[in-house]
């Protein structure tokens, strides 16, 4: 057993690290570091820089722009991006719709959509959840009725992240209400958000920020060629995507960066003649999170090692990466807020409209915002159900 990266892997890491150091624009890096809101332009700008370098979709096949990296290299790349503090790559096109098209799309769909996703020409959104269907996704009600060469879509999606930036949205819709199993009447549709009949309305979160939306569909005409895979087989597509998603949720690089930042920050807070990092009660809290993060990193590497050897996608127990990764992210935002004591009480909402602009005033909203991480992408309760059922057989 050897927990260290090989010489080649280290060389690869250094290459990525070096490239990021000289290609991440300073203004974007600062915005991320100061926890400022990133707008559509910011997100797409970073996307395009990576696309130009050829690193925007490492997991895709080479012919569509993939890098041919193995799973460990892909992991190293992601962690280095997190550690450097790059803007996030919005997953909906690159990590969700793209892989779905690669696996299930027609040649025409691949040709039409993949290059645009790769290049960041369109902003994609995910239209799964509905007001009545969150954890129980298969109960979704948004209807698509076939009429000649198009579907007519009616219903509502909600929690649509960055829907207000969206050009396209992939949706799960009900195409057969009479199917004997709920999962069998669902289809996967690609919808142009400029189509008449679509209304996007903001949902404001408790940090004051606008990142999610409600999306209403009122007699929206969607050409039949935008159906992915077969009609009523959308659940197969959705399940494939979930398996794909989960390996990606540890966010270890990002948490490492936040941990380092926390230590530095707390190390500069001087109270009663000593720094906060010299305060044993606080330091112990930080150390506990650090150890959790170390454990998560090694667990993640064990999963990667297994994937590399078996060439199989990970099993259901990778849900633990989501559980632990999000708990760690939340703990870090909480400690950061606590580190500044009373100075966390002024409130700088994440939408930027504020009478107060101190960095410290953004820490409590950030703590509030990160409560979402244990709710979205399959709540941590649902992740525990998955492990209970699939791994432990309960």
């Amino acid at each position: 057993m050897d927990l260290n990266y090989s010489t080649e892997e280290l060389a690869f890491r250094d290459e990525v690290r070096g490239w990021l150091a000289s290609n991440l624009p300073a203004d974007l890096r600062d915005k991320v570091a100061e926890y400022k809101e990133l707008d559509r332009e910011d997100l797409l700008r970073w996307h395009k820089i990576l696309a130009k370098k050829g690193w925007v979709a490492p997991a895709w096949p080479k012919e569509f722009g993939g890098t041919d990296w193995n799973v460990v290299q892909r992991y190293i790349f992601e962690e280095e991006c997190g550690f450097a503090g790059t803007p996030p790559l919005i997953p909906f096109g690159l990590a969700m719709c793209g892989p779905v098209l690669l696996r299930f799309g027609s040649d025409a769909q691949k040709k039409r959509f993949l290059p645009r996703i790769y290049n960041g020409d369109d902003f994609w959104c995910q239209g799964y959840s509905e007001p009545g269907s969150g954890s129980d996704l298969a109960s979704l009600k948004t209807k698509a009725m076939r009429e000649g060469d198009h579907y007519v879509v009616n219903g509502q999606k909600t929690w649509t992240t960055l829907g207000h930036y969206g050009d396209w949205i992939f949706c799960l819709v009900r195409t057969d209400s009479g199917a004997s199993k709920r999962q069998e009447g669902i289809s996967f549709l690609l919808i142009d958000m400029k189509t008449p009949g679509i209304t996007v309305r903001p949902l404001i979160l408790m940090d004051g920020g606008h990142e999610v939306n409600e999306v209403f569909f009122d007699d929206v005409k969607v050409p039949v060629e935008n159906l992915v895979y077969e009609e009523n087989k959308g659940w197969t597509v959705a399940k494939y995507l979930l398996g794909h998603e989960r390996m990606n949720t540890g966010r270890i690089g990002g948490s490492k960066r936040e941990l380092a930042k926390l230590k530095e920050f707390a190390g500069n807070q001087v109270f009663g003649g000593k720094t906060l990092m010299q305060d044993v009660r606080f330091r112990d809290k930080v150390a506990r999170v650090e150890v959790e993060l170390m454990a998560l990193e090694i667990t993640n590497l064990r999963f990667l090692d297994q994937m590399r050897r078996t060439r199989q996608p990970p099993g259901a127990d990778v849900s633990m990466l989501k559980i632990k990764g999000t708990e760690i992210q939340q703990a870090l935002t909480e400690l950061m807020m606590q580190a500044v004591g009373p100075l966390a009480q002024p409130f700088r909402p994440t939408n930027g409209s504020s009478d107060f602009d101190d960095f410290t005033a953004g820490l409590a909203p950030r703590y509030c915002n990160f409560r979402k991480t244990t709710i979205y992408a399959g709540s941590n309760e649902i992740q525990r159900n998955i492990i209970a059922k699939m791994t432990l057989g309960l």
Partner: protein
């Protein structure tokens, strides 16, 4: 032993609750929070009319002569309603400091107006480097002419933007963290040289950072003995801490009630989510945490103004705040989590309870601060 509320205490709490239910529902509160002032003058007038502003002041000062125990029910109701009016800053901090340290003339100049709802106070204590340490006072007061000159900076002064007068802690002798040498001065909020930077706080109240630039006040601005204010400050802050413990119980009750209701009505997988045992146990733990917190809020209130000595009081208040801080965090996080995405939205009250609970957990000393003080005294 007797945990019963007196009939008077019960009646007052009920009337506050009734008033809030009628005139301070969540939609009304949203409007108040969004207004320029950030609080409602009619609500404040009503508080005065109901006697809330007179509650903790001695009969001699025109008050009702109540203690922390008398205020528990009121604070709990204020917590349930997520009231943003500067009640704590005016009565428990500023008002209490004047009542405890002021001369007869000073009390007469302030307390009747306060009790009638015509005057509001704020307590300017926290500084950038002080964290929760009450002895950390760098702001300077020097003798000048016949009075004092005040220079320095205070931050997160709750209720300052709408206060008429500020009770300011300042150093008249010694070094920044010395226990001796701290004095209290009464300063007009609009006095020349008082510069406010006002803002909203995490829990949607209003506060300000305040700069004092060569502010001149008369000799009669000094409250109590020169250089000996720390004990009174500690007493008032402990009193206020005991009160927010009761307030926290009210906020938690509200968060628990809405979460329980949500568990019963939100359906997924064809059943109310409250039928999932994984969630039932979580709800039970929230309920238990709140009851434990309630017990400690009783302890804090019963000791806040009747403890045998300062250490006895500090130990009880810290014990309560430890339990309350943990319960606030626990209940806040779980109530949002169990609401799923809805819990994250600004639209629902539960996210505002989350914000108030997060604030209370840190206000007047976070968990670590009180663990330290409790351990030292145990």
């Amino acid at each position: 032993m007797n945990f019963d509320q007196t009939e008077e205490q019960q009646l007052l709490a009920d009337s506050v609750r009734k008033f809030l239910a009628r005139d301070y529902d969540f939609e009304r509160r949203k409007k108040i929070v969004a207004s320029a002032e950030g609080y409602s003058e009619p609500v404040w007038a009503m508080f005065a009319e109901m006697g809330l502003t007179s509650l903790p002041f001695a009969a001699d000062d025109g008050g009702f002569g109540g203690g922390a125990v008398d205020m528990m029910g009121v604070m709990e109701a204020i917590g349930e309603g997520l009231v943003v009016e500067p009640f704590l800053a005016t009565t428990a901090l500023g008002g209490r400091l004047i009542a405890r340290t002021g001369s007869a003339a000073q009390k007469k100049a302030i307390l009747p107006a306060l009790i009638e709802g015509r005057l509001k106070l704020a307590f300017a204590q926290t500084e950038r480097g002080s964290r929760y340490d009450l002895a950390h006072v760098a702001t300077q007061a020097k003798r000048a002419g016949g009075g004092w000159q005040l220079d320095g900076e205070k931050c997160v002064v709750l209720g300052a933007p709408c206060a008429d007068k500020l009770v300011v802690s300042a150093r008249t002798a010694g070094n920044t963290a010395d226990e001796k040498g701290i004095s209290l001065l009464l300063v007009d909020r609009e006095a020349p040289g008082v510069v406010l930077k006002s803002y909203r706080t995490l829990d949607e109240q209003r506060a300000a950072d305040i700069e004092f630039k060569g502010v001149k006040v008369g000799a009669d601005a000094l409250l109590g003995a020169e250089g000996g204010a720390l004990a009174a400050i500690e007493e008032a802050v402990d009193f206020a801490t005991a009160l927010i413990c009761s307030e926290a119980v009210g906020v938690m009750k509200s968060a628990n009630d809405t979460t329980l209701e949500y568990l019963k009505t939100r359906k997924q997988f064809g059943v109310p989510i409250g039928t999932f045992q994984a969630l039932q146990h979580r709800m039970v733990d929230m309920f238990v945490a709140t009851e434990q917190a309630r017990s400690m809020a009783c302890l804090a209130a019963s000791k806040a103004d009747t403890a045998e000595n300062a250490d006895d009081r500090k130990r009880a208040v810290s014990a309560a705040k430890i339990r309350i801080a943990e319960a606030c965090r626990h209940v806040a996080q779980e109530s949002v989590q169990l609401h799923g995405g809805m819990g994250m939205t600004e639209e629902l009250k539960v996210s505002h309870s989350f914000r108030r609970l997060t604030m209370i957990a840190q206000q007047f000393g976070d968990l670590e601060y009180h663990l330290e003080r409790f351990s030292r005294l145990s």
